[in-house]
């Protein structure tokens, strides 16, 4: 795995120097991250990179994963959806399964690091057994701005036992009695999903996947999920088609284990059936290099979601210097300033209009892509994320201060 110095050419020496400066004040500090899964999902992906880098900076960073049975994960899935605002049937048994599972975990876990850093609602209630000797942070990766009241009322008393919490966007947060930090997630520019690829590597992937390159590619990378609106993407492409010469590529995670996903994929295939300029390409979830190559080969990237979390796929596309047309939902407006670092849309008509504009004005499209890449470099790379976490750790020793002199 790359070490911190490998980021020097990407983020500059001053950024690294800042990290080393801050780390001096945290040397040897124990920080225990706890989440609910070691593999898969954005949290595990970030922790896999974050932990070794924090250790390289001199912090004693560790990572534990809670264990739970089927009933626990079924309950937390419902909690997750309800906290997102979806109507869910949550029963007393769900709460019971949750509390029992966390009690079992507490019996086997030592939560005695100087900073205990809990990720997401699944392990949130571990805080119930905290002692006052250490600091506790709750990192919420989801949008809890409009939760189902009953589930939020269950979690809120736990959340307010923490010293601080962290949200990814101002619009995702709640009014709480504890300090709330705003720390956006990040992408790793050296991962397979984002690292630079040679032209040869890109061509090899496209050849292997049989993606023709005779026309400019317009790509949406996402699961086959209604909230990503793949049918809306097709409609926008077909509206724009009389005015552009391009090929649409819908690429995303395999839907084998997701009945609704399989149904959406079938509908997408049916809608695309008569149009030779639309390619539908389901890929396994581990296809990081393939996604990277496809994004790099594309002329325009779409993210026409109806609802979105932070939407880091937008950051991944912008990092490749690509012009991105994306819906103004979730965390996407934090990543794109309309007409400066990308295009924000609100409708299928908007997507079609901007598709025409960008494909017919490559100079403007390139400028958007360049600005977008710089915006990501400054705000959404792993090094900024490391810095913010270290600042948060330091702030815990100065509660209420707005100027901290180290």
């Amino acid at each position: 795995m790359p070490q911190l110095d490998a980021y020097r050419d990407i983020v500059g020496g001053q950024t690294l120097e800042e990290l080393y400066l801050l780390a001096r004040y945290l040397k040897g500090k124990s920080v225990q991250h706890v989440n609910s899964t070691a593999v898969g999902g954005g949290v595990a992906e970030i922790l896999n990179r974050m932990i070794p880098l924090l250790r390289e900076l001199g912090l004693d960073a560790t990572w534990d994963v809670i264990k739970g049975g089927e009933a626990f994960y079924a309950a937390t899935k419902r909690f997750h959806n309800a906290l997102h605002g979806d109507a869910q049937e949550v029963t007393a048994q769900d709460y019971q399964a949750y509390e029992e599972t966390l009690a079992e975990n507490l019996a086997h876990m030592r939560l005695d690091a100087e900073i205990v850093f809990i990720h997401d609602p699944q392990p949130a209630a571990l805080v119930s057994r905290r002692t006052r000797n250490n600091r506790w942070i709750w990192r919420c990766h989801i949008d809890v701005s409009q939760p189902r009241r009953q589930v939020w009322d269950f979690f809120r008393p736990y959340v307010e036992q923490y010293d601080a919490c962290v949200f990814s966007a101002p619009a995702f947060a709640q009014q709480l009695s504890i300090p709330q930090a705003l720390i956006a997630p990040s992408i790793d520019p050296l991962s397979d999903k984002n690292r630079e690829l040679s032209r040869k590597e890109v061509t090899a992937v496209l050849d292997r996947l049989k993606i023709p390159t005779d026309k400019p590619l317009v790509t949406q990378v996402s699961r086959f999920d209604r909230l990503k609106d793949p049918l809306g993407v097709i409609e926008a492409f077909q509206m724009a088609k009389p005015h552009i010469n391009a090929r649409l590529l819908l690429v995303g995670g395999s839907a084998d284990d997701d009945p609704e996903g399989a149904q959406v994929l079938a509908e997408v295939r049916q809608r695309a059936h008569d149009d030779p300029d639309i390619l539908v390409l389901p890929l396994p979830p581990t296809s990081h290099l393939e996604i990277n190559a496809i994004q790099r080969a594309s002329s325009v990237i779409l993210q026409k979601s109806l609802k979105e979390g932070f939407g880091l796929t937008v950051a991944e596309a912008l990092w490749k210097g690509k012009p991105v047309i994306a819906s103004a939902v979730g965390g996407i407006p934090l990543q794109i300033t309309h007409k400066h670092s990308g295009i924000l849309i609100h409708s299928i008509d908007g997507a079609a209009y901007w598709l025409r504009q960008l494909l017919n004005d490559p100079a403007y499209a390139n400028r958007l892509g360049k600005n977008g890449r710089e915006h990501i470099r400054q705000n959404f790379l792993l090094t900024r994320h490391l810095r913010d976490y270290m600042l948060l750790f330091l702030s815990l020793d100065h509660p209420g201060a707005d100027w901290i002199h180290l």
Binding site: Q14, E18, P170, I183, N371, Q378, L391
Partner: protein, 228 residues
Amino acid sequence: MSAVMPRAREPFRFFTRCCLTMMTGVKARTLRELTDYLKTAPEAVVYQHTDRFLRQHQYLVPEPSNDFAYWVTHMLQDEPLGEQLAAIDTIRFHSLHELRRQLVTVMESHLNGKKELSQAPAGKEFHFLSAVRFSVPTRYQAYDLVQFGRCLQQVSIASLYLHLFEARLRTPLGINDFSHWLETELREKVLAEQVAGLDLYTHTMESLRAKVTGLIETRLHELSHAAT
């Protein structure tokens, strides 16, 4: 040359600055709500929404000088007020208190006489944020002008910003750290005034670095001639 070089009793210690953004949980949907909260918000909130360091000086992206102007223009669709707020020269103020008063005055005079207020669409509310600022000592320090000039070329632009811009919000008010040290430690009154006289608003941080470095080199040249 070192024989005539004034040497400070206290070195200039270069610090750098970092910011952690915090959320207040308060949001505004109308100009009235925006004004009312701004009147009593902690100064860290005023700072957060008027600090243009990152965007304006580092990345050279032209945009309004404060978040209030952007929100009023784009979410309330009130371009005349947005223009007035954008025109407020945030760097001219020597305290966040004064800056807040000016922002509130402009907003209130616009509110006077308005019967109906436009409301931001759902999801486009103004979220009040605040800043926790950190000043962090770096390894750079200087006892004389030669060392000072060398350090200036090495330090980060966040350090330059802290000493040139933010220092003006601390006592002694309105004076940047470089000028203060040059005058009080090295007795370089003229040089201190030249640095203080630079128009911070029309330069990027890198061009400010070059300007200050140029002034120091000129002064060193004078000192070396005086010594021979």
